[in-house]
Symmetry: C2
Subunit: 162 residues, 2 copies
C-alpha cells in the first residue's frame, strides 16, 4: 500500500513559504530560458509540500487529484525536468524525491541523512565529504560524474523521543 502523505489541506501554505519557493523556481527557469509548465509546477509543488520524500506514484495520485489526468510518463517526464534543473533531488535508497533546499544552484552535489524512524530527510552539502570522495576516486583513475551519499540512521529528534 502506498503511504498517504500530506494530502493538501484547503488551507495549505499558511505562511506562503511554499508559494515563495515555487516563485523562485519560476524565476530561475525564466532566467535559464526553460519552461516550468503547469504540470512541472504542480509536481514541484507536491514535492515541496510533502515534508517527507515522496514517490512517483504518490505524485501521480496528487497530480490526478489536481488536474484529473496523468499517467506514469507524465510524472516521470516532469521529474526528469526538475532533476535536470536542480530543483529536486532523488533519494536512491527510497526511490523517492525531495525538494532541493537551494533551488538557485544548478545540479549541486548533496548528501542525505535519512531517519528511518520519522522518515524525514535532511540535505547537506559538505565540502569535506565531497573532497574525500573526489580524492579516493582520483586515486583509482576514476572520473566522477555524480556522487550519491545517503546515510540511514536516526535523527536527533527521534533519539530524544526514545
Amino acid at each position: 500500500m502506498r503511504p498517504e502523505i500530506a494530502q493538501a489541506a484547503p488551507d495549505a501554505d499558511p505562511t506562503g513559504a511554499l508559494s515563495a519557493r515555487v516563485a523562485r523556481a519560476e524565476a530561475a527557469c525564466a532566467r535559464r530560458g526553460v519552461r516550468l509548465t503547469a504540470i512541472r509546477r504542480d509536481v514541484l509543488r507536491l514535492i515541496l509540500q510533502a515534508d517527507e520524500p515522496i514517490g512517483a506514484y504518490a505524485l501521480l495520485d496528487g497530480l490526478r487529484a489536481l488536474t484529473g489526468s496523468g499517467k506514469p510518463p507524465t510524472v516521470y517526464r516532469a521529474l526528469d525536468f526538475l532533476l535536470a534543473q536542480g530543483l529536486i533531488h532523488r533519494v536512491e535508497r527510497l526511490n523517492a524525491f525531495v525538494g532541493c533546499h537551494d533551488e538557485a544552484v544548478h545540479q549541486h552535489a548533496a548528501q542525505f541523512l535519512i531517519c528511518h524512524d520519522c522518515g524525514r530527510v535532511a540535505e547537506l552539502e559538505d565540502a569535506a565529504v565531497e573532497a574525500a570522495i573526489g580524492a579516493v576516486a582520483r586515486t583509482q583513475g576514476f572520473a566522477p560524474a555524480r556522487v550519491t551519499v545517503e546515510v540511514d540512521g536516526v535523527c536527533g529528534a527521534c533519539q530524544d523521543k526514545s
Copy 2:
C-alpha cells in the same frame, strides 16, 4: 528487457577462483552457525560469476535454470541472508547486487565506483570518506546506521578507450 549476463558456460570457473570464494563463504557461515543452503549458495555463485552487478530477476532466471524452480521471494530471501552475512552488497543506484570483495568481514561499510560505460563496479573501503561522513552526521546529531556512497562516472580503462 532484462540484460543477459554471463550465462554460465559449461567450462565456467577455469581457475577455480569462484569455487574458492564460495568455499570461503561456506566456512564463514559454518563459523557463525548459520546455514548457507543450496539456494543461498546458488544465488551467491550467480552473483560472483557475473562480473557486473546483477539484478534480482536475472538471479531468478539463473536460479530457475539451475534448479527448475523459484519465485521472487525465493531470491529475495536469499539476498537478505547474503546481505546480512556481508557476503554481498547492494548497489542502490542500480537496484542490483555484487559480491563483497572481502567475504570474511561482517557488514563493513563500502563505497562503489560505478562505470556507466562498461557497467563494472569497483568496491572501496576508504577510512577518510567514512570519517568525513561520520563527522558531518554527528554535527547534525544524527546517529548513522548504514552509509551508502556510490559514485557514477567513467573508470580508467574506459577513459583510455575513448
